[in-house]
């Protein structure tokens, strides 16, 4: 049994898919000999060669754009963007091309590509390195948005993303790249996309989150448990397409829900989940849906970053308020 970090699990999944399918290529800035700024591609160039592990010039447009061309030709490119702050040119390619090629050619040309990028704050990174802009991608039809929350889920979900026949944005919670270790065996078993993961069963309140905030959410659930409040914890895992049924079924049982995300409040993906509950689960709700999120502010630099990040204490407080609502 091998304990691995989340970033090691990413490397393992990349190597696994490259090994099983010669059409899988890795492209990005510094992904070759340097192994990526977070070492997610470490060792791949030695094992698979420079044809399949390709350093690009500093051009995120190229990382996404050549991936569209390669994918249209039957390759399975996995592009790495170094930080979410640099991913915005990629949106042009994802929105205008990758996500619509299958539709606009009525299935003649498809785009099986993955764009990986670390996201989120809490590691005292420089400006433009700490944002959580996942909601931007969830508004794009034809695109999958996947976010793992543990090493094992990173491995299984990335396998599924690379094997998927359509484009996937795979956002990696870099705050927990190395802070958690767990058993990850190279089984080749993927975790199904488009499904929420039930991480903790509970009867009193449903806590819904994804990515690094799963850590605080599970901590909060433990604290609440000592107070006699049993929280059910759901990791959304695939934000788009959303597995709303799992969330709705849980809230049918608990009657209460809080959504926790690091991203800003307004139009965060929590809004979508709250709206689904209002639309399809209103009569099951015993309290308003709560959102524990970042603020609608420019992501602060490291000195003030800790004020921005949602904490387990805020999750506990929101859950208590929900429980007290009548």
């Amino acid at each position: 049994m091998t304990e691995r970090t989340l970033v090691e699990a990413i490397t393992l999944a990349l190597a696994r898919t490259m090994d099983e399918n010669e059409k899988v290529l890795v492209v990005g800035e510094d992904v070759g000999i340097d192994g990526g700024v977070f070492r997610a591609t470490a060792g791949l160039i030695n094992r698979f060669g420079k044809d399949r592990v390709r350093d690009t010039p500093v051009s995120e447009t190229v990382i996404a754009g050549i991936s569209v061309g390669l994918a249209a030709q039957g390759f399975r490119p996995v592009g790495e963007v170094q930080f979410m702050g640099f991913i915005y040119p990629v949106i042009d390619q994802l929105l205008n091309h990758a996500s619509r090629l299958r539709t606009r050619t009525r299935g003649r040309i498809t785009c099986p590509m993955v764009i990986r990028a670390p996201y989120g704050g809490g590691i005292h990174a420089p400006e433009h390195h700490s944002e959580s802009m996942e909601a931007l991608f969830t508004h794009i039809p034809g695109l999958r948005v996947v976010i793992p929350s543990s090493p094992a889920r990173a491995y299984g979900l990335l396998l599924a993303a690379i094997r998927d026949p359509d484009p996937v944005v795979f956002l990696e919670p870099k705050r927990i790249y190395r802070s958690i270790k767990e058993e990850v065996e190279d089984t080749g078993n993927a975790i199904a996309l488009d499904k929420c993961q039930l991480l903790r069963a509970g009867r009193d309140i449903t806590l819904v989150s994804w990515g690094a905030m799963i850590v605080e959410t599970l901590q909060a659930a433990e604290t609440l448990s000592t107070e006699g409040i049993e929280a059910e914890v759901i990791d959304v895992a695939t934000l788009k397409p959303l597995d709303a049924a799992t969330i709705l079924n849980s809230v049918e049982k608990t009657g209460r829900c809080a959504v926790i995300h690091e991203a800003p409040y307004t139009s965060g993906f929590g809004a979508e989940i709250a709206a689904r509950l209002a639309e399809y689960g209103l009569t099951n709700l015993l309290a308003p849906v709560r959102r524990v999120t970042g603020y609608d502010v420019t992501m602060p630099l490291p000195k003030l970053e800790h004020y921005y990040m949602p904490t387990a204490a805020r999750v506990v407080a929101a859950a208590r308020e929900s429980m007290e609502f009548s």
Binding site: P57, G69, L70, G74, P77, D92, N96, T103, G107, P165
Partner: protein, 367 residues
């Protein structure tokens, strides 16, 4: 400042060659390339340009009568697409911008398909002919990196194929144009980038697009050869693209070609070019247009006469009318189709929306 006139202080020097074979009046300026020695061999090129011109006329007529959506005519620019496509092999891949129907027709995209696309039907991009050719790129220059990716695929598979990417003069002002060129040159992939320099990006003239003397010289910054051709001389376009393709297939990397032409009509049917350019300018440019130039040459070689011309016009009109009729007779797709090609398999979360969309029209999918 180091002295500028001392050749030993020049770090690098470049020049941009220019090619034209047929003068504006169709007389021969330079010795013709091999493929053009027999005038009869040029007749298919002539025919393709005439066909495109008649197609464009018909498309505008359909748009004006409410039977087609916004449409970009290629009037005056037919030689660019025909020259490029006729130099390609069927197994190459074309990545066109939205005004390259002349190239698409040569490649085997049908007129019905192009009518369908501009008529608002996605099936128009499901080409039955060139299955790997890209659909037109509407966001200007965004397809240049795709061409690098397609060409990289050929290189990785060790195939003797090439990607041909066509964009307009406006495209050269965009970052993704340069980024696509740059990576293509760094990786030395078999790609040919062709600029259809029609002098106008909607209302912005070429001079206001860039201060660069030529668009072809933008190749130099990316580290590939750049050259300029008279884009109204189909022989020059075909010759330049053929040389670039040969280079690409021999493993010598990409080329940028700027084809100088002129957009003789509006940007699209939604545009009115009178707002920003004079009739005098346009009538001056009519003297340089590609169709009469090649016709004059063919006539001068006794390879074409009035009867041939009448016959060709009649056959082309018939083909265009037949295609238009087929397009107009095409039933719209059912509403389910807007969902069914989004992903390989419809995700559960979309199922409800699909069912709703069908139910709201009472199960009558053609409502």
């Amino acid at each position: 400042m180091p002295p500028q006139n001392d050749p030993s202080n020049v770090a690098a020097a470049f020049s941009i060659p220019f090619t034209r074979y047929l003068a504006v009046d169709g007389s021969v300026e330079e010795e013709l390339p091999d493929f053009a020695h027999d005038p009869a061999a040029l007749i298919p090129l002539y025919r393709a340009m005439v066909l495109t011109r008649i197609f464009d006329e018909k498309a505008i007529a359909l748009q004006r009568t409410g039977r087609l959506g916004t449409f970009p005519s290629s009037l005056g620019q037919e030689a660019v697409g025909v020259g490029a496509a006729s130099a390609m092999l069927p197994e190459d891949v074309l990545l066109p911008s939205f005004r390259e129907q002349s190239a698409q027709f040569w490649r085997g995209v049908t007129m019905k398909e192009v009518f369908l696309y501009w008529g608002g039907d996605e099936r128009g991009s499901n080409f039955e002919g060139p299955r790997e050719d890209f659909p037109v790129s509407i966001p200007v220059a965004s397809h240049f990196p795709h061409a690098a990716g397609v060409a990289l695929a050929f290189k990785l598979r060790d195939e003797k194929r090439a990607a041909v990417c066509i964009g307009g003069d406006g495209a050269t002002s965009k970052g993704d144009f340069y980024e696509g060129l740059n990576i293509a040159a760094v990786w030395s992939v078999p790609a040919v980038f062709l600029i259809n320099d029609n002098q106008w990006a909607i209302s912005v003239p070429r001079q206001k697009q860039t201060a660069a003397q030529t668009l072809a010289q933008k190749a130099i910054a990316a580290g590939m050869p750049g050259e300029q051709v008279d884009g109204n001389d189909v022989i020059a376009v075909r010759d330049a693209v053929a040389r670039a393709l040969k280079r690409a297939r021999s493993g010598n990397g990409p080329t940028l070609i700027e084809a100088l032409t002129y957009r003789l009509t509006d940007h699209t049917t939604a545009d009115d070019a009178h707002r920003y350019r004079s009739d005098e300018e346009v009538s001056q440019r009519w003297k340089e247009e590609p169709v009469s130039r090649l016709r004059n040459y063919l006539v001068s070689q006794d390879a074409w006469n009035k009867k041939d011309e009448e016959q060709l016009l009649s056959v082309c009109k018939e083909e265009v009318e037949k295609s238009a009729d087929e397009y107009l007779a095409t039933e719209p797709e059912p509403v389910s189709e807007i969902f069914d090609y989004l992903f390989k398999e419809l995700p559960d979360d979309l199922r409800a929306q699909r069912e709703f969309a069908i139910a709201r029209i009472g199960g009558n999918e053609h409502d």
